[in-house]
Structure formats: C-alpha cells, structure tokens
C-alpha cells in the first residue's frame, strides 16, 4: 500500500495544528514551566523543522544515488536525536520529573529513528525495498496517533492532579 505525498503532507499540516492547539491549552491551564510545557515546545520545534525542510529534502532524495538517500535519512535521525537530547537536557537542568507525555514522545522519536536506520540499511545494501512500506506505515501511524494519545494522557494527568489536590 502506497500513501500519496499530498495525503501525507495534509496529515502533517493537521498534526501541527493539533499540536499548536494542545500547546495553547497547556499554556493556559498549567501556567508555569512543567514537563508538559517543555515537551510541547520541543514537539512544536521538531514538527516545524520537519515541515520546513520536507520539500527540499524530498527533492534531493528523489535522486537515485545512495548519498542523496543518505541526506534524507541522516537529517531525520539527526533531528530526532537533537529533539531527544533537548528533552533530556531541559528536564535535567530544570529538575523536572519526566512526565508520561515526555517519555511517550521520546519513545516515538526512538521508534522513528530505528525504522529509518533499518530502511536505510536495506536501501544501501540489499536494495530490496522490502522494508519501505513498513517504514512509511510506521511513521504515518505514529504521526496520526501521537497527538490524540498525548492529549488523552495529559488530560488524565490533569484529572489525577485535580482529585489529589489538598483543600487548603
């Protein structure tokens, strides 16, 4: 099953809009620096960077040489590494406990990185394209499910917080 490029780009745009909406809600409701606000800032940075660079990378990656394929995969892997490192670094420096949302998003980044590396190894050595569809589906499903899952986990944590609050 092949997903068309236009469809993928439409999904990516809606995904960024949903993340923006979640970020605004987090800012309004949490009102201070928490693990959730940090994570949402990094998610938005990462998503906007991916969106901005997508077209250019895609035209480079259309060339059949292995080096242009490498640019495609290496850029994503590097971007995911930087996002992961920033989540870790900011939680460490601000002495925040890592929330479930932050942990989930970094697990998602890790899964994407693994899928990309496996697909690149396949392209560079066996050239079988056996993993190409799986790679596409992993990224697509991850991108579609992530915003809603993040929203639901955050709302559940908010609810838990509210029912354990002391009446003082």
């Amino acid at each position: 099953m092949e997903l068309s490029l236009d469809f993928l780009k439409t999904v990516a745009h809606y995904k960024i809009l949903i993340y923006c909406a979640i970020f605004l809600m987090v800012l309004v409701i949490e009102k201070k620096v928490t693990s959730m606000t940090i994570t949402m800032i990094i998610i938005l940075l990462h998503e906007y960077f991916s969106d901005a660079i997508f077209d250019e990378l895609y035209s480079i990656a259309s060339n059949p040489e292995i080096l242009s394929k490498y640019y495609w995969y290496a850029t994503w892997v590097a971007a995911e590494f930087i996002a992961m490192y920033l989540i870790y670094y900011l939680h460490l420096k601000l002495k925040l406990r890592v929330s479930r949302v932050a942990y989930f998003y970094s697990a998602l980044l890790l899964a994407f990185s693994i899928a990309q590396v496996i697909d690149f190894i396949d392209r560079a050595t066996f050239k079988s394209d056996a993993f190409a569809t799986t790679y596409q589906m992993v990224i697509f499903i991850g991108n579609v499910v992530a915003p809603f899952y993040i929203l639901s986990v955050w709302l559940r944590e908010l609810h838990l917080d509210r029912i354990t609050k002391y009446k003082s």
């Binding site: 292995i66 892997v77 939680h91 932050a102």
Partner: protein
C-alpha cells in the same frame, strides 16, 4: 562507502538510545522515596502494635502511655502529610 554511511547512522541511533535510557531514569521513582515509604509503613505498624499492647493491659494504669501514643500518632500523621506533599510536588510539578 555505504558501510561508512550505515555506521554513522548506527552511531547516531546509539546516542539516541543512550539518551532515551537516561530519560527513563529521570522518570522513575528514586530509591530514597521507596526507603521513606518503607520507613513510614514500619512506623505505622509499630503504632498499631503499641495500641494493641495498651488495650490488652487495661488493669494497669496506662493513661500516661496512652497519652504518649497519641502524641506519636499525631507526629506520624504530620510526617505522612509532609511526605505526600513533597511527592506530589515532584511528580506533578506543583
């Protein structure tokens, strides 16, 4: 050439996994909290045993001991509440 490219990607992936593991450590419950919880539980157990002891010896005059027990219970409840507040601050960032 290809193998060099693959190697560089695998190294980047290894770094990603490394930081993911460190992030997991930041999300876990620290050892000290488990120890404090265990100590609080032990104290609650001791208080219950002492109450049993006081109630079993009604013929003796244990009013003073009973008073001391009540003070210890109040102290315990205070500590328990402080601990709960500290935990809530750390887990939920408040």
């Amino acid at each position: 050439m290809e193998y060099l490219l693959i190697l560089s990607l695998v190294i980047a992936l290894a770094f990603t996994i490394y930081y993911f593991k460190k992030l997991g450590q930041l999300s876990g419950e620290p050892q000290i909290y488990a120890e404090v919880a265990s100590e609080l539980q032990q104290r609650a157990h001791d208080l219950l045993v002492r109450k049993d002891h006081i109630e079993a010896h009604t013929q003796l005059d244990l009013a003073e001991e009973n008073e001391r027990w009540k003070n210890d219970l109040a102290q315990y409840m205070e500590d328990y509440e402080q601990e709960a507040l500290a935990r809530r601050r750390i887990h939920l960032g408040h």
